[in-house]
Symmetry: C2
Subunit: 616 residues, 2 copies
C-alpha cells in the first residue's frame, strides 16, 4: 500500500514549470553559520492558565524565544552555530492536507544537506500510522523531484491525525529511539501542534534525546497567535475559493435570477470566509464569530437574509451571493445545544434511530421544525474531537430553504414584491485542498522548512518554527522559533454545576472582531450588499504581476509581535543606558516614577481578573 | 433594473491586467480591405433531411460558404470589399453565459469602428427580453473598458433564451426595423443559432433588410460540425473544472480514503467530461455517449464502478475519482424511459404528488427502487426543451449510493476485502461559468467578433461566423462563414406507431466515439483506472508558458474540414487543367474511368439509405 509513496509521477506542463521554481531564503538563513539570539523566558498568552500550563509542561514551559540572525549580525550575546554534525531527522504529515506541505519537506531537506551531506532525513509514510509503525521513506533529490511546489500530501500521505493516547505517544517514542532520530518535525494545525508539545514534554521527561519541532501548516488559517501570523496553505485555499466565488458572482450578475448560498471550510473559525469575502466582495458573508458574539438564532439569521433579499428586490435585483463557514451550525446557540444533546445521547450509546425520541422537549420541537435532510445530518456521529461532522451538514441548504419559505410567506402577504426566489447551494470544501500552492505558500513553507532545521541545530525542543513580517518581501522576513507552550491556553468548561478546567492546548484563533481585516469587511458591507461590487481576483497566477499576491487579511493586519518584543527590549536597554550610575538624581527620580507607573499598569492588565484575553 | 448594465466597475489587480491584453487578429482580417471568396452552394450534412431543410428555409438554404482572405491574396474570383458605409448593428446574448462572450462584442466593436467610425453598435440589455422590448445600450469604448477579456455576460445580461414563437420573432423583427438595424448578431449555442437561422429566413421572406449572424459561443462545446471546430468558453470551462478535478485527485491520493463522484456540465453531450478527463487523468469517466451506445443500465454502471473499486482495493487503493456528465441520467435507457413517462404526465397536467401513482407498473418498480432524494428530483418539471432539469438531478449521489450498497453487500459476502467505502459527491456546475476567459477563448471570441462584422459587410444573412485551423497560432487561423442551415439535421422521432419528422435544427454534436480524443482516453483508461496517473493542469495562466494552452480534444483532432473542402477544389481544378481539350485519348479515358468510380462511390455513401450519419 505504501509502495506508491514518493514515486516520481507524470506532471502537466504547468506542474513541470512549477517544479523548476526555487524559493529564496531570507538573508538570516543564508550561508552555513547562523546566529541564534534568545529572548526572555516566555509566558503563556493566557495569564489565568499559565500555572496550569506550567504544571502540565514542567520541562518545556517558559523557554525563551529564539531569533535567527544573519552570520554578520552584530548581536553581542547571540549564540553562533557553525558546527553542524550529521543528524537524523524524521518528518510526519498530520491532519488535513494543506497546499505547500511538500515544500516544508523540501526546505528542511535543503537545509539539512547544506549543513551536512551525511545527515539523514526520513519521511514517515501514511502519516502518524507510519510514525507508529516505523514506516519510512528516505527523502532524496529523486523523491523530491516531482513534488517541489506541488499540492497535496501524497509524497508521504497522511492517515490518522492524532499522537495523543499513551499508546500513541509511546509508539512515537519507540520509533524515534529505534531510528535514532535527533529531531522529529510535525507538520500540522492546532491539534497536531498541541500533540507536538505533549510529545516534546514526554520526550524531555523520559530522557529521549529526540527534539520535537512543530510547523504551522493548516488551510483553516486558525493557528494564529502572537508568534504566528498565518499558516501554510491558507493563502492558496482562499485564492482558489475566492476565484470560484467570484465566478459565481459573475454568474449571478449575468443571469440575474439566482441566490447562491456557498459554504466554505472553517470549522472553529471563519478566517477562510473572511479572506474570501475581502477578495471577492460577495453580497453577504456570515461569520461564525459574529453569530456567536451576537447570539443570533437561526430565525434571526433567516430574517437578516430575507431582509437583504427584499431590500435588493426593491431596487430590481433578484440575485446575490452569500457565504457561510462550515462551522456556522455550531455557532448558532440553539443548534449547538441541540447538537450537544444529540452527541450526549451518542455518547450513551443510543442508536441513531432512537435519538430523536430521547431528546428534551425543546430540542424535540426544534428538531421537528428542521427539514428532514438536515435532521439526518445532525444525527451523524460526532468527530473524534467531539465536534459535529461539519463537512456533512448542509447549513447552506438549511438557510436557503428557510429563506425561501419566509420569502414566499412575504410574497403572499404582499410584503415582498420581487421575482421568484431561486437558491443554488454550493459547498466549496474539497476542490481547493489539493491545489498547486501559491507562490507565497511555496516560499513560506520552504523557508519554514529551513527554520525547522535551525531549531533542531540549536537543540530546541517543543518549539514551533516561525516567520514574521510576512507581508513584506522574503528578504525582510524574520525567522525564529517560539515554545509551543507559550501559545497555549486553558478552557473553562461550565458544563453542569462545577467549572471544569480543560487540558492546556493550542486553540484555534477565531476571527478578531476588533481587527483591521474585519473592520475592512464591515466598512464595505452595505455597499457590497446592495451595489454588487463583485471583483474577481482570478485564478492563482505563477508568473506576471498577480504572482506575488498575499492574503488581504495578512496584509492589512499590523501584526509584528516578535518585532515589538524586540522593540520593547530596545526601550528597556535605552532606559538602562540613559540612567547609568552617575546620572543626575532628577533623571533617576523621573525614571523611577515613570517605571513604577508603567509596571503598575501592566501588572493590573496582565492579571487573570482583568479578563486575561489571549491576544487573538 | 437595467440601469446597471455596462457600468464601469471595480476590477481586481489581475482583472485590470487582463483588461490591458489585446488579442491579435489573423492576417486575413488586418487592414480595411478584405476579400471574400465564395465556395460552392452548401448542402446539409444530413442528406436524408436535406429536402426537409430546404423546404423550411427556401430563402437561406443552399447559400455558398464564404472565406475571408487577406487583401493581397491572389484569388481570381474573390469579391473585394473596400467600401464600408456606416451601418447599424445590434447584438444579443442568448442562453447560458460562457467565458469570452464579452470579447465577441469587443471584436465586433473594433471591426465596426475601424471600418467606419460613424457606424452604430447597440447591445440589447437583458438578453432576448431586451431585444423584444427594444432596450439597448450603445457600445462605446467607455462601456467596454471594464469588460475586455472578462468573464460573464454582465455587460449586457441575459434572461430568456428563445427567439422562437411567432410573437417573439415578430417582436425581434419590429425591433430591427424600428432601430434600422443592418445586422443582428446572436451569441449562443445550438438552440440560439437555430433560432438565428429561423429569424434570418423570416427576415428574408418578409423583406426585412436586417441580416442575421450567429456566433458559436457555448461552454458545452457541442456546437461542433464540419464548419465549427470548437466554441467560445469551452476551453475555459474545461480548464477551470480540470483544475478542480485535479485538486480533488490530489486530495484523494493524500488522504487515501475517499471516492469522489464528480458531476460535470454537459447535457446532451459529454465534451466537457471528456476534455477534463484528458487534462486530469481521473480514475474513471463515464460518458453519456458510451452509455447510450452500449445501452448500459444503472445496474450495469453500478457493477462497472464496483468492479473497479474492488480491483483497486485488491492492490491496496481505497480512493479514487470518477467523473460523470450531468446528461448521463438521460442516456441510461430505463431512467430515460421513466423520465419520459413522468414528463408525459406533467404534460397532461398531473400534479407532482399524483405522478408516482399513475406510472406504468415497470416504471413504478424502478421508481420505488430509487432513493427518495432522486425520486423527488426526477419529478421536477422538465425544462422548456422537454429535457429533465439536469442540474437538479444528483446522478452522482445516486451512483455513489448504489455503489456503496453493492460494495457493502460484497463486503458481507467476503468478495470485497478493501476498507470501508466512503463517497464524496460534487457538482461542478456553476463555479466555472463566470470565470475569466482563457487566452485562447479571449482570442477566439475577439476574432469571431471581427469575422461577424465581415459577414455583415458582405451582406450575408443566416450565416455563422467561423474560424478554422484553431489548433495553430492565431496568424494561421482561417476565417469564414457558413450558412447555419448547412449545419442542420432532422430528427426522426419514433414515438407511437408513426415516425414523426422533427423540425430542422442545429443539433448538439455528441462525442465521436471513433474520434482521436476518445481514442486517446480509451488508450489510457486502464492505466488511469489502476495507477493513479493524476496530473494537474493547474489554474488558468495568463502569462508564462502555460498561457497559450488549448483544449486537448481540439489539438488532437484533425478537423480542418474547410481546408479539406478547399483541397478538394484544388484536386478538381488539377484534373481540369491536366485533362484539357487536346490531351491524349488515353488520359481522357483514364480520367473518365477514375472519376466514374469516384462519383459512384460517393453517390452511394451520400445516399440517405447509407445511414446519412452527420459528420459529428
Amino acid at each position: 500500500m505504501d509502495s506508491d509513496y514518493g514515486i516520481p509521477r507524470e506532471l502537466s506542463a504547468l506542474q513541470k514549470e512549477r517544479a523548476l521554481y526555487k524559493p529564496e531564503v531570507p538573508p538570516c538563513l543564508q550561508g552555513t553559520t547562523v546566529r541564534v539570539e534568545y529572548g526572555d523566558a516566555t509566558t503563556a498568552s493566557d495569564p489565568a492558565g499559565a500555572h496550569v500550563i506550567s504544571r502540565a509542561f514542567p520541562h518545556t514551559y517558559g523557554q525563551p524565544l529564539a531569533h535567527f540572525l544573519r552570520a554578520t549580525a552584530k548581536v553581542p550575546d547571540a549564540k553562533i552555530i557553525s558546527e553542524h554534525p550529521a543528524i537524523r531527522v524524521g518528518l510526519v504529515f498530520c491532519g488535513r492536507q494543506s497546499p505547500g506541505g511538500h515544500n516544508v519537506v523540501w526546505g528542511l531537506y535543503d537545509a539539512i544537506k547544506a549543513h551536512n551531506p551525511k545527515s539523514v532525513f526520513l519521511g514517515f509514510v501514511g502519516g502518524t500510522e507510519g510514525l507508529f509503525a516505523q514506516k519510512t521513506l528516505e527523502i532524496t533529490d529523486d523523491v523530491l523531484s516531482s513534488y517541489k511546489n506541488q499540492g497535496g500530501y501524497d509524497m508521504l500521505g497522511r492517515t490518522k491525525d492524532q499522537i495523543r493516547t499513551t499508546e500513541q505517544v509511546n509508539a512515537a517514542m519507540a520509533t524515534c529511539q529505534a531510528l535514532k532520530l535527533d529531531g522529529l518535525v510535525i507538520i500540522g494545525g492546532v491539534t497536531s501542534n498541541t500533540d507536538a508539545a505533549q510529545l516534546a514534554e514526554t520526550f524531555a521527561e523520559q530522557k529521549c534525546s529526540t527534539k520535537v519541532v512543530g510547523v504551522p501548516v493548516t488551510l483553516n488559517g486558525d493557528l494564529k497567535n502572537q508568534f504566528v501570523e498565518t499558516n501554510v496553505g491558507f493563502h492558496t485555499i482562499c485564492k482558489v475559493n475566492a476565484q470560484l466565488i467570484s465566478n459565481v458572482c459573475t454568474d449571478a450578475l449575468s443571469a440575474e435570477k439566482y441566490y447562491y448560498f456557498i459554504r466554505l471550510m472553517g470549522r472553529k473559525a471563519s478566517h477562510v470566509a473572511l479572506e474570501c469575502a475581502l477578495q471577492s466582495h460577495p453580497n453577504m458573508v456570515i461569520l461564525g464569530e459574529e453569530v456567536a458574539a451576537s447570539k443570533l438564532t437561526i430565525f434571526d439569521l433567516t430574517k437578516q437574509i430575507c431582509d437583504a433579499v427584499q431590500a435588493r428586490a426593491d431596487i430590481g435585483k433578484n440575485h446575490g451571493v452569500i457565504l457561510i463557514p462550515e462551522g456556522l451550525v455550531e455557532k448558532i446557540p440553539e443548534l449547538y445545544a441541540l447538537l450537544q444533546e444529540i452527541h450526549g445521547l451518542h455518547g450513551k450509546g443510543v442508536s441513531i434511530e432512537n435519538i430523536s425520541s430521547q431528546l428534551s422537549p425543546w430540542a424535540t420541537a426544534l428538531f421537528e421544525f428542521l427539514p428532514p435532510f438536515i435532521r439526518k445530518q445532525l444525527l451523524l456521529h460526532p468527530e473524534s474531537d467531539d465536534s459535529a461532522q461539519l463537512s456533512q451538514i448542509e447549513t447552506e441548504k438549511l438557510l436557503a430553504q428557510l429563506v425561501e419559505s419566509e420569502i414566499n410567506r412575504r410574497l403572499k402577504e404582499g410584503i415582498y414584491k420581487g421575482k421568484k426566489f431561486n437558491a443554488i447551494c454550493h459547498f466549496f470544501g474539497y476542490q481547493a485542498r489539493g491545489s498547486l500552492p501559491s507562490k507565497f505558500d511555496c516560499d513560506y513553507a520552504y523557508v519554514l522548512g529551513h527554520v525547522s532545521y535551525h531549531v533542531l541545530a540549536a537543540g530546541l525542543n517543543g518549539y514551533m518554527a516561525t516567520i514574521t513580517n510576512l507581508k513584506n518581501p522574503v528578504n525582510k522576513w524574520k525567522c525564529g522559533a517560539a515554545p509551543i507552550t507559550a501559545m497555549m491556553s486553558v478552557k473553562r468548561l461550565s458544563q453542569g454545576p462545577a467549572t471544569q478546567i480543560g487540558k492546556p492546548a493550542v486553540h484555534p484563533a477565531t476571527v478578531d472582531l476588533k481587527g483591521r481585516a474585519y473592520e475592512l469587511l464591515r466598512e464595505n458591507a452595505t455597499s457590497c450588499l446592495m451595489e454588487d461590487l463583485y471583483r474577481n481576483p482570478g485564478p492563482l497566477q505563477f508568473e506576471g504581476p498577480g504572482a506575488d499576491a498575499k492574503a488581504i487579511s495578512l496584509s492589512v493586519e499590523d501584526r509584528d509581535y516578535m518585532g515589538r518584543i524586540k522593540l520593547l527590549q530596545e526601550y528597556l536597554d535605552k532606559v538602562k543606558s540613559i540612567v547609568k550610575p552617575g546620572c543626575s538624581q532628577d533623571v533617576l527620580k523621573a525614571a523611577l516614577s515613570a517605571m513604577a507607573s508603567v509596571t503598575d499598569t501592566l501588572a493590573i492588565m496582565a492579571s487573570p481578573s482583568f479578563g486575561g484575553q489571549p491576544p487573538y
